[in-house]
């Protein structure tokens, strides 16, 4: 049967996160954004709401919800601000999820409760200066020396890696060569503050300015052998499997941004007057807003569909790529249109749409570019 009504609990979560986003995030996030500052206090409050533990079982301190609950929370946060939304998305699906999916029981017991409560944040470092889409081009190395991994190399653009809350970065590194000559890539957890692990300055970014993105370098960094996350030699493959679900989350965040553009435009079109009447009295403005709503709601269906398959345990790779590709492009289109509706004010940072405009572009790039999504969809269709 076909039914996209939400469970009572998910609906209550949506309402709570919506209120939190409007009452707590909206009034102050603009200032953090302008100062390029990570909003530690807001993120802690998100932790108290239980958002970082949403899809994890209670035995590890999680909320016992589903991955879809996380998506709904991301949509509502994204509707108001993308920086806090990506902090949650990266914290859960890049930071905690690899530990939960592939970590040993001991690793889960040790790290998940703090990550689920939002008291601590974890990051995942895959991308390097030399390759993001082609993550197999990893140059960072880790060799076993006695009972320890010794890491050398660097990572680029790593979200949540240098906040006051960050305690852990899981990085992919070359741990050897396979029989066929290809690289053996594994994932290794590196606690913040380990000697030789240097967290660089925050990047100066076009958008997501209140989110933490940094360059990391590793010079003879020693961590215990048991910090290997998952199987040796499976680090890259395992990470890719996590990216599939992460795409649904990015899609939800994108839908939030697209819907936020509708919210702001509807409001502004009723308030702003030109030629003696509200600008919303012009069909040109009405149609722009109607088209924005059409895009936001169809993109929402795309991520619901992908999440539905995922929760049912069916293959969802293609649906996740479709949702991520479509909704990130919709976010970009809506941000452009919403800025247009706002005229000159849309170009001012003090209006949320200015932020939306700056934040939308990265959605077509992070966690798999639009080109990568198209490649995956085509490959899944058996083309090429």
């Amino acid at each position: 049967m076909l039914d996209y009504r939400l469970d009572e609990e998910t609906e209550a979560l949506r309402t709570t996160v919506r209120e939190f986003a409007r009452e707590v995030v909206a009034p102050q996030i603009g200032e953090f954004y302008e100062r390029d500052e990570f909003p530690t206090a807001i993120v802690r409050q998100m932790g108290e709401l239980g958002l970082f533990g949403l899809p994890f079982p209670e035995e590890y301190g999680g909320g016992g919800g589903t991955y879809f609950d996380l998506c709904v929370a991301l949509e509502e946060l994204g509707r108001v601000d993308s920086s806090v939304a990506i902090t949650l998305e990266a914290g859960v699906s890049l930071g905690a999820m690899p530990i939960f999916r592939f970590g040993s029981e001991e690793q889960k017991q040790r790290w998940l409760p703090r990550l689920c409560s939002g008291q601590a944040l974890a990051a995942f470092g895959l991308t390097e200066a030399g390759g993001g889409s082609d993550a197999g081009a990893t140059r960072t190395t880790a060799r076993l020396d006695g009972g320890e991994w010794v890491l050398n190399g660097s990572k680029s653009f790593i979200t949540n890696s240098g906040t006051d809350l960050t305690e852990l970065v899981t990085v992919t590194a070359v741990t050897g060569t396979r029989a066929d000559g290809s690289k053996e890539i594994s994932a290794i957890a590196v606690p913040s503050g380990t000697p030789g692990f240097v967290v660089g300055k925050r990047y100066s970014k076009v958008g997501w300015n209140a989110s933490d993105t940094r360059e990391l370098s590793f010079t003879d960094v020693h961590v215990p052998a048991e910090n290997l996350v998952g199987e040796r030699g499976r680090g890259y493959a395992q990470f890719l499997s996590i990216l599939d679900e992460g795409r649904i989350a990015i899609s939800a965040l994108s839908v939030g941004l697209a819907q936020g553009c509708v919210d702001e435009s509807v409001r502004y079109a009723g308030e702003r007057e030109a030629f003696g009447r509200p600008i919303g009295a012009n069909q040109a403005i009405q149609f722009m807003i109607a088209d924005m709503e059409v895009r936001a709601s169809t993109a929402r269906l795309a991520y619901y569909r992908a999440a539905e398959r995922m929760l049912r345990g069916e293959p969802f790779k293609r649906e996740a790529s479709i949702a991520k590709l479509y909704s990130s492009e919709v976010a970009m289109d809506n941000a452009r249109a919403a800025t247009q509706v706002h005229g000159g004010y849309g170009f001012m940072n003090e209006y949320p749409v200015g932020r939306f405009y700056r934040d939308a572009k990265i959605l077509e790039i992070g966690e798999g570019t639009s080109e990568v999504q198209r490649m995956l969809i085509a490959r899944d269709l058996g083309v090429g």
């Binding site: 209550a12 979560l13 709570t16 939190f20 709401l49 239980g50 533990g53």
Partner: protein
């Protein structure tokens, strides 16, 4: 320590609200119904007292079946259980009738402290705490901006225009809270998940021993005869600044007795 919080579901005061033209009662169908905003402060205060002293927080609601949403919100914030009085005959009841229902429900419960919001944003009658205190024969302290329980005494700073009065009353007592008393928490996801397992007891008028003909619109002591929308905002006064704009502006403010 048994704390009962009275929670009412009302149409969201931040949205366009209306009366139902068929009987001039609050239009609930189609409205965005929420927990009466000021009641959230009473819920928060109940939870704070419970966290400090131990005990149990029970939510009491009189309202239609759909008021379970408001109950669930209170439970997800951390209240332990709820009593929901629901009966079609209650529709259109005035404050005095409603107080009879609430008092009858309270008499079937154990309570040391009854907390309410100072008013509800729909009816804005603000007499319920006083009516209940009278019916139950317990002290009432209204408009609390600070509350502590010490032994069998509740100490309250009662908000006034210029400051506060420090008052105390023996328990059991009923205290109404203002929105200055605390900052209500958001329900956590764990709270939301836990709420669905918490007991909600439904009671009818018969369960409370109330004759249905004594409540409801037909026998209400007050009812709305007519209503009209708020008149649209006037045009306002336009002042063309010909160098004396500030002067004219001040003259206008003075003419309105604003300065």
């Amino acid at each position: 320590m048994n704390i009962v919080v009275l929670v009412k579901q009302v149409p969201d005061s931040g949205t366009q609200r209306s009366l139902d033209p068929s009987d001039n009662t609050v239009a609930r169908a189609g409205a965005d119904n929420v927990v009466n905003e000021i009641d959230e402060y009473a819920i928060e205060e109940a939870l704070t007292v419970k966290e400090a002293q131990g005990g149990e927080v029970t939510v009491l609601t009189v309202g239609p079946a759909s008021a379970t949403d408001a109950i669930r919100k209170a439970l997800s914030m951390g209240a332990d259980k709820a009593v929901h009085v629901v009966d079609d005959a209650i529709h259109g009841s005035c404050a005095i009738q409603t107080s009879a229902i609430l008092a009858a429900a309270l008499q079937q419960m154990e309570y040391d402290l009854v907390l309410t919001g100072a008013t509800s944003t729909d009816g804005q009658v603000a007499v319920m705490p006083a009516l209940l205190a009278e019916r139950l024969g317990i002290p009432q302290v209204s408009g609390a901006q600070k509350l502590t329980v010490e032994g069998s005494t509740v100490k309250v700073n009662r908000q006034t225009d210029g400051g506060y009065w420090a008052l105390e009353a023996p328990l059991p007592a009923i205290v109404s809270t203002w929105d200055t008393i605390n900052e209500p928490r958001y329900p956590s996801f764990k709270g939301i998940m836990a709420a669905k397992k918490k007991p909600v007891e439904t009671k009818s008028l018969a369960d409370l021993g109330i004759d249905p003909s004594t409540v409801g619109l037909a026998s209400a002591t007050s009812s709305v005869l007519d209503f009209a929308g708020r008149p649209p905002k006037g045009e306002g006064v336009k002042v063309n600044d010909e160098g004396d704009g500030a002067q004219k502006f001040v003259e206008y403010l003075a003419s309105q007795k604003i300065v």
